[in-house]
C-alpha cells in the first residue's frame, strides 16, 4: 500500500456513489430491481468493497495528540482506533478520541463561509473571503493585528507564526483555558523543564494533588497505560498505591486507594506539612537547603488539620506511606494550581518529590526537540487576558481567531464579548457557528480533522520525540465549502512573501517538501523521498532524533510560602469547576455520543448540575433535583442539585463545558456555563487565571426537577450494591497476585 498516491486514492473514493444503508431489520421482503448496486468507475485495485482499510492519522481532540488509525470502507470513515505505533497511546483510544468521527459528520458543521452584511451573517464564497482577508490585512500596521489561536504545534504553527510575522505583528496569542501552565512554570524553575516525563509505572506510590491523569490531565491515555503497569504486581514490583488529594473527586480520585478531600487552596499547607514530617523522620534532609528546612518547620500536623481539614490520623498514614514506599511520585494538578498562590502550592507539592528523591527516578527530563519552531504551544490563559486587555484598549483593527471559543470560555468579568466588538474586522476560523463565530465579521469553515493534513508534536512526549502525521481519512464532505487553515495561511503568505512560498501548490505540497527535506532528522527512514513520505503516512509516526537531557532539582529561591486562609461569610462556598473528559473546555459539547455518555462519577447526562455534599445538603434542606442558584461576585447560574459524597463539604462543584448559547443542536441550551462565574483572581507569579479561587453562595429557588441520570432510580440516594456481589473488592494484602498473567 506504500506505493500509492494518497490523494489519487481519495479521488477515486467517491463516497457519494455509496448508498448508506440505514434500513433496519424491519425490511424482511426484498424484490429485484429496486436498489441500485454500488459500483466504481475507476477504483484502485487494493480497494475492495465491503472490506475496511485502516489509515493512520493523529487525534486532535485534545493536546495529547494520540496516534489513531481510521477504518475506511467504501470511502467512508467509520471508526477510529488507537495507533499501536504511537508511543503515546499504544493502540488505545479514549472516548473523546472515538467521538472525533462525530465532529467530522456533525450535522451542524458550517458548509460555507459567512460574511457579516447588514447585521447578519450571510453566505459568501471562498474567493470573496480570501480576497477580503488580503484586502483587510493589506496595509495594516502590525500592532493593529492579532491572532488568537488554541494550542498549536507542527507545521501549521510555523505557517501561522510566519503569517503573523509577515504582517509585522507580535500579537500571536496561544490561548487554552485548561492547561497546567502554572505547574509548567514551576517545574521549569525547579527541574529546568516545563514538561518533565513521569514514570507512573516505576512508582510504588503516587500521591496526586488533584492531578486527574487518568481522565483529563496532560496525556490521559498514556498515563492510563502506565497506570496499568503501576497497578500490576509482579515478582520484582508490588502493586502501586494511589493517593488522591483534591476538593472534588476526579476519576483518578475515584480510583485511588485513598481519596482525601481537602479545602481548596490548602494543598500547599498539606504538602509542606508532609515535607516537615518527613524531614523530622530523617528523610531527604540533605536534599534541601537550610532555608527551606526552616521554612517548612511552621507546618505541623495541627496546622494542616486546622487549615487543610485533613485529620491527623490520615496525615500520619500518609507520612507512613511516603516514608515506606519508594520510589514514589507526587503530582500537582489543576485544583492545586488554580489559586492566587497557585505557584507556591505547586512548588510545595513538587518539593515533596525532591525530599523523597523521586527526581531522576520517576521524574526525568524529556528529549530535546531539534526544531523548536515545531514544538507545541500549549497555550495558557494569560494570553487571553493580554488579548482581552488590548481589545479593551481598542488596539486591534483586525483579529483572527482559530481553534478557540473565547466568548464562551472567558469569565464574565472580562467582558470579552463587548471588547471584541471594538475591533472592526473579526475573522473566525471554525467548524461550527459557536459563540465566538456569532460575533465575527467573517466566519471561515475549516476542514474537519479527518479531512485535513497536518503534523503534530505533542507537548508531553512519553518516549523519544514523535512527530505524528495527520492525513485525510476520507474525501471532504463539503469540497467547495471548507478549507484547511494551512491552505488559507499559505494562500495569504503567497501575497506577502511570494518568493518564499510560490513553489508550494498547496498545504499538502508544503508539508511534503518540508518533511522530505529534513528527513534526515528522523530515525529509521529510507533515502528515497516518495518511500519516506508514504512510510510516514502509513505509520503515522516519525521518531525524531533528539538529544537526551538529564534532570536535576534546584530548590533555591523556590517560593513555597503559603498564605493564611481567608474566610468569606457572604460567599461561604468554594466553587470547583470540574473538567469533564468528554467536553474539556466545552469545545466538544456538540458531540451526541459524549452528551449521551454518563459522567463517570455522577452518571448524569445531557445537562449541567451542581455537586453538593449530602451532609451540607441535609443542613440546607436541599434534595436531589432542587434547582439551586449559585452566585459569585460576578454572576450567578441556576442548575439542579446532585448530592455527591465525593465533594469537600465546604465546596460545590459544577462541570465545565455545557451551557452553550450556540454551536448546534446538541450543545445549544444544554446546561449552564460556570466559566462565567469565575472571580478575577490570578496566579501571582504567572498571571494565570485562578480557576479554583472563586467563592460562591448557594440558595434554593424552590423549583425542582427529576435529574436525568444513569444510576438506578430508587429512594436510596447514594447508590450502593445493596449487598449483591457485583463489584467485589479485596484488600491488597489478602490478594494473591502470584498466579496472574
Amino acid at each position: 500500500m506504500s506505493n500509492i498516491n494518497r490523494r489519487d486514492f481519495l479521488k477515486v473514493l467517491g463516497w457519494s456513489s455509496v448508498a448508506v444503508a440505514v434500513a433496519g431489520c424491519g425490511k424482511t421482503s426484498v424484490e429485484s430491481g429496486v436498489e441500485t448496486v454500488m459500483s466504481y468507475s475507476q477504483p484502485e485495485d487494493f480497494l475492495v468493497p465491503s472490506i475496511g482499510v485502516y489509515y493512520a492519522s493523529t487525534c486532535t481532540q485534545c493536546e495529547a495528540n494520540c496516534g489513531v488509525t481510521g477504518r475506511v470502507r467504501e470511502g467512508r470513515i467509520l471508526k477510529l482506533e488507537g495507533n499501536p505505533e504511537s508511543a503515546i497511546n499504544l493502540g488505545r483510544l479514549c472516548g473523546l478520541g472515538q467521538a472525533a468521527v462525530q465532529h467530522h459528520y456533525n450535522p451542524d458543521r458550517l458548509k460555507e463561509p459567512l460574511l457579516r452584511q447588514g447585521g447578519g451573517l450571510q453566505p459568501t464564497t471562498w474567493e470573496n473571503a480570501t480576497a477580503l482577508l488580503a484586502e483587510k490585512t493589506g496595509d495594516l500596521k502590525g500592532e493593529q493585528f492579532a491572532f488568537l489561536s488554541g494550542g498549536l504545534s507542527g507545521h501549521l504553527k510555523v505557517l501561522v507564526q510566519n503569517y503573523v510575522d509577515s504582517l509585522g505583528s507580535k500579537n500571536l496569542y496561544f490561548y487554552e483555558a485548561l492547561t497546567p501552565a502554572v505547574n509548567q512554570s514551576v517545574s521549569q524553575k525547579l527541574y529546568g523543564t516545563a514538561t518533565p516525563r513521569f514514570h507512573l509505572d516505576k512508582a510504588q506510590l503516587i500521591v496526586s494533588f488533584g492531578a486527574d491523569f487518568l481522565d483529563t490531565w496532560v496525556s490521559p491515555v498514556h498515563f492510563a497505560s502506565q497506570y496499568t503497569q503501576f497497578r500490576k504486581a509482579t515478582i520484582d514490583k508490588k502493586r502501586g498505591t494511589l493517593v488522591q488529594i483534591e476538593p472534588r473527586m476526579t476519576l483518578t480520585g475515584a480510583n485511588a486507594d485513598r481519596w482525601i478531600p481537602i479545602i481548596p487552596g490548602t494543598e500547599g499547607v498539606l504538602a509542606l506539612g508532609l515535607v516537615n514530617a518527613l524531614l523530622k523522620g530523617g528523610i531527604g534532609v540533605k536534599s534541601l537547603p537550610a532555608s527551606v528546612v526552616s521554612a517548612v518547620r511552621a507546618y505541623d500536623k495541627e496546622r494542616v488539620n486546622k487549615e487543610a481539614g485533613v485529620s491527623g490520623e490520615v496525615f500520619d498514614k500518609l507520612v507512613a506511606l511516603l516514608s515506606e514506599r519508594s520510589p514514589s511520585l507526587v503530582l500537582s494538578g489543576l485544583s492545586a494550581e488554580g489559586h492566587a498562590h497557585g505557584a507556591q502550592n505547586a512548588a510545595a507539592i513538587m518539593l515533596l518529590n525532591v525530599v523523597l528523591g523521586n527526581v531522576g527516578k520517576t521524574i526525568d527530563a524529556p528529549t530535546r526537540l531539534p526544531f523548536p519552531q515545531l514544538a507545541a504551544e500549549e497555550g495558557n490563559s494569560v494570553a487571553l487576558k493580554r488579548f482581552n486587555d488590548s481589545l479593551a484598549g481598542d488596539k486591534f483593527k483586525v483579529v483572527f481567531i482559530y481553534n478557540a471559543n473565547p466568548v464562551y470560555t472567558a469569565p464574565a468579568f472580562m467582558k470579552l464579548r463587548d471588547n471584541l466588538k471594538k475591533s472592526e474586522f473579526k475573522v473566525v476560523f471554525t467548524h461550527y457557528l459557536d459563540e465566538t463565530a456569532q460575533e465575527a465579521d467573517l466566519v471561515l469553515p475549516l476542514d474537519s480533522a479527518l479531512e485535513d493534513w497536518g503534523t503534530h508534536v505533542a507537548a508531553y512526549q512519553p518516549d523519544s520525540i514523535e512527530l505524528t502525521m495527520q492525513q485525510p481519512l476520507m474525501e471532504k464532505l463539503y469540497p467547495s465549502g471548507t478549507r484547511s487553515l494551512g491552505d488559507v495561511m499559505l494562500d495569504q503568505l503567497k501575497h506577502r512573501r511570494a518568493n518564499e512560498y510560490k513553489d508550494f501548490a498547496d498545504y499538502y505540497a508544503y508539508l511534503k517538501s518540508a518533511l522530505t527535506r529534513n528527513k534526515g532528522a528522523f530515525s529509521g527512514v529510507s533515502a528515497d523521498d516518495e518511500t519516506f513520505w508514504n512510510q510516514a503516512l502509513m505509520h503515522g509516526v516519525l521518531k525524531v532524533k533528539g538529544q537526551e537531557q538529564s534532570i536535576s532539582a534546584n530548590v533555591v529561591n523556590l517560593d513555597i510560602a503559603q498564605p493564611a486562609p481567608i474566610g468569606d461569610d457572604q460567599y461561604p462556598f468554594h466553587l470547583v469547576p470540574t473538567v469533564r473528559s468528554g467536553f474539556r473546555d466545552g469545545r466538544h459539547a456538540n458531540l451526541p455520543w459524549l452528551q449521551e455518555t454518563p459522567d463517570s462519577l455522577t452518571t448524569m447526562v445531557w445537562d449541567s448540575w451542581v455537586e453538593i455534599h449530602p451532609k451540607t445538603a441535609e443542613r440546607m434542606g436541599i434534595k436531589e433535583g432542587d434547582i439551586l442558584e449559585i452566585a459569585s461576585k460576578n454572576g450567578s447560574i441556576k442548575t439542579q442539585a446532585y448530592l455527591f459524597p465525593g465533594v469537600q463539604p465546604d465546596s460545590v462543584a459544577i462541570p465545565l463545558g455545557q451551557g452553550h448559547e450556540a454551536m448546534g443542536r446538541y450543545a445549544k441550551d444544554v446546561g449552564v456555563n460556570p466559566f462565567k462565574l469565575l472571580d478575577p483572581v490570578f496566579d501571582k507569579s504567572t498571571g494565570e487565571l485562578a480557576m479554583h479561587a472563586t467563592r460562591v453562595k448557594v440558595s434554593r429557588t424552590g423549583a425542582s426537577v427529576r435529574v436525568v441520570k444513569e444510576e438506578g432510580w430508587s429512594p436510596i440516594v447514594v447508590n450502593t450494591q445493596q449487598g449483591r456481589k457485583l463489584v467485589s473488592t479485596i484488600a491488597v494484602d489478602k490478594a494473591n497476585f502470584s498466579k496472574e498473567v
Binding site: 424482511t28 427529576r706 444510576e711 438506578g712 432510580w713 430508587s714 429512594p715 447508590n719 450502593t720 450494591q721 445493596q722 449487598g723 449483591r724 457485583l726
Partner: protein
C-alpha cells in the same frame, strides 16, 4: 340441599311454555337503555383502539415502559382476563359433573363470559408485542424460513393453551346451546328464523340426538376442567418458570388458578345482578342461587388468601434474600398503596360474603363483587410491576416508572370490548338455558313427587 334457606332455587310449578316465553323475551328488540350501554362500550373500545394505533405507529416507548420495566399493564390485564374466564368453566363443567343443578339457569352467560374474556385476553398478547406485524413468527406452521417457534417458551405454551381453551369453550358453549337454538328457531321469524335454523343444525330433540348430546356434553366437560386448570397454571409459569425474584415461586400455579376462579366468580355475581335486573330474570336467577354463588366465592377467596400467605411465608423464611427484599419493597415501597389495597379487597372484603344479610342484598353484593375484581386486577399488577422496579440488579432499579395513558387507555378499552361482545351475545343467544331449566323443574317435580309418596 336447601337446608340453609327455606327459599327454593326455582319454582317447580313454572310452566315450560312460560320458560320459553320469559327467556325469548330477552332476545327481542332491545330497549333504548341497551343502545346507550352499547354505545358506551363501543366508545370505550374505540379509546383502546386509538391508543393501539398510536403505539403501533410510534413504538412501545409511548407506553412509557423502559429498561427494566419491560412489561406493564398489558400482561397484568392479560392475566386478569384469562382469570375471568375460569369461572365459566367452573360453573358449567365442574358443577355439571357434580350434578349441582342450581347452576343451570346461570351457566350459559358464565360460559359466554369465559369465551369473551379469553378473546379480550388474546388482544393483550397482541398489543404487548413490539412488532405486532411479525406476530406470525410465533405460530408453529411450516414456512419458507424452515424455522419453528421456540417450544420451550412459556409464552408459546400460553398461546397454544389459550387457543385450545378458547376453541374448546366456544364449542362447549355452542353445543350446550343447540337445543335452545332449536327453540328459538321454532319461535323466531324473519332473518332470525334462518339464523337460528342454521345454528340449530336441524335439532329435533330425538332420543338419538339427546343420547349423543348427553355423552358429548359430559365428555367435553371432562376435558374442559383439566384444560382450565392447565391454562392458568401455564400462565402462572410465564412467571414461575422465569428466574426473577417474586416470580420464581413454586406455589404460583395453584395460586393463579385460585385467583382465576376467584375473580371469575366475582364477575359472575356482577353479571348475574346486571342480567337479572335488565332482563327481569327474577324467576330464574333467584336469590338462593346468588346465595350459593356467593358462598362459593367466599370459599375460593379464603383459598386464595391462604395461598397468598403461604407464598409470603415461604419467601420470608426462605433463603432467597432477593425475593425477601422485594416482598418488603412491595409492602413499604412506592407500590405499597396498591399492594395493600389488593390485600384488603382480596382478603378482607370477601368476609362480607360470609354474612347472610349482605348476601341477600343485591346492592351490597354488586359493590362487593366489583371490589373483589379490583383487588384481583391489582393482584396481577402487583405480580408484574414490583419485580421489575426492584429486581436482582440494583443499577437498573426504577421505583418511579408509571404506565402512560396509552397503557391505561387500552386497559380501559378492553372492558369496552368485553362489554360489547357480551351485549351482542345477550341479544343473539338465550342467556338462560331454557331446556336445562325445564330439566331442572322436571327433575325437582319428580323428586318432590317421590318424597311425597315416600
Amino acid at each position: 340441599m336447601n337446608h340453609l334457606n327455606k327459599e327454593k332455587d326455582i319454582r317447580e310449578d313454572i310452566a315450560w311454555a312460560q320458560i320459553n316465553k320469559d327467556v325469548l323475551r330477552s332476545l327481542e328488540k332491545p330497549r333504548p337503555v341497551y343502545w346507550v350501554l352499547f354505545g358506551l362500550a363501543l366508545s370505550m373500545f374505540l379509546v383502546g383502539v386509538g391508543c393501539e394505533i398510536y403505539q403501533y405507529q410510534t413504538g412501545m416507548g409511548v407506553a412509557n415502559m423502559n429498561n427494566p420495566h419491560m412489561w406493564g399493564l398489558y400482561i397484568a390485564t392479560f392475566i386478569f382476563w384469562i382469570g375471568m374466564s375460569h369461572s365459566g368453566t367452573l360453573l358449567s363443567a365442574i358443577l355439571h359433573l357434580m350434578h349441582a343443578d342450581w347452576r343451570k339457569p346461570i351457566y350459559r352467560f358464565a360460559e359466554a363470559m369465559t369465551t369473551f374474556s379469553l378473546m379480550t385476553a388474546g388482544l393483550f398478547v397482541m398489543v404487548h408485542l413490539g412488532r405486532l406485524w411479525q406476530f406470525y413468527y410465533a405460530l408453529p406452521y411450516p414456512n419458507e424460513r424452515w424455522t419453528w417457534p421456540n417450544f420451550q417458551s412459556p409464552l408459546l405454551w400460553d398461546a397454544m393453551a389459550i387457543f385450545t381453551y378458547l376453541t374448546s369453550s366456544i364449542i362447549f358453549l355452542y353445543i350446550g346451546a343447540i337445543p335452545d337454538f332449536a327453540i328459538c328457531r321454532d319461535n323466531a321469524k324473519g332473518w332470525r328464523k334462518n339464523f337460528y335454523t342454521i345454528l340449530a343444525l336441524g335439532w329435533m330433540g330425538t332420543d338419538r340426538q339427546w343420547r349423543n348430546f348427553r355423552i358429548t356434553y359430559l365428555t367435553v366437560a371432562c376435558f374442559l376442567i383439566p384444560l382450565a386448570v392447565s391454562v392458568h397454571s401455564i400462565v402462572a409459569s410465564d412467571f414461575a418458570m422465569s428466574q426473577q425474584p417474586g416470580w420464581h415461586v413454586t406455589s404460583f400455579p395453584p395460586y393463579f388458578v385460585a385467583g382465576a376462579l376467584y375473580s371469575g366468580c366475582a364477575a359472575i355475581i356482577t353479571l348475574f345482578i346486571v342480567l337479572r335486573y335488565t332482563f327481569r330474570f327474577e324467576e330464574y336467577m333467584t336469590m338462593p342461587i346468588l346465595d350459593k354463588v356467593a358462598r362459593l366465592t367466599f370459599a375460593i377467596a379464603m383459598v386464595w388468601t391462604y395461598l397468598n400467605l403461604i407464598e409470603f411465608a415461604s419467601v420470608w423464611y426462605g433463603h432467597d434474600s432477593y425475593s425477601k427484599d422485594l416482598l418488603i419493597q412491595k409492602a413499604t415501597g412506592p407500590y405499597a398503596p396498591f399492594w395493600w389495597t389488593m390485600i384488603v379487597c382480596g382478603s378482607i372484603v370477601p368476609f362480607a360474603l360470609a354474612i347472610k344479610k349482605f348476601r341477600s342484598s343485591l346492592t351490597i353484593m354488586f359493590i362487593v363483587s366489583l371490589l373483589l375484581n379490583l383487588g384481583m386486577w391489582l393482584e396481577r399488577w402487583m405480580i408484574v410491576a414490583p419485580t421489575y422496579s426492584h429486581g436482582y440488579y440494583p443499577w437498573t432499579w426504577d421505583h418511579f416508572q408509571w404506565p402512560s395513558f396509552v397503557q391505561w387507555g387500552m386497559v380501559f378499552g378492553s372492558f369496552g370490548w368485553f362489554g360489547m361482545l357480551f351485549m351482542i351475545f345477550t341479544k343473539l343467544v338465550p342467556s338462560v338455558s331454557m331446556y336445562e331449566v325445564k330439566e331442572m323443574v322436571y327433575h325437582r317435580t319428580l323428586a318432590n313427587k317421590e318424597s311425597r309418596e315416600a
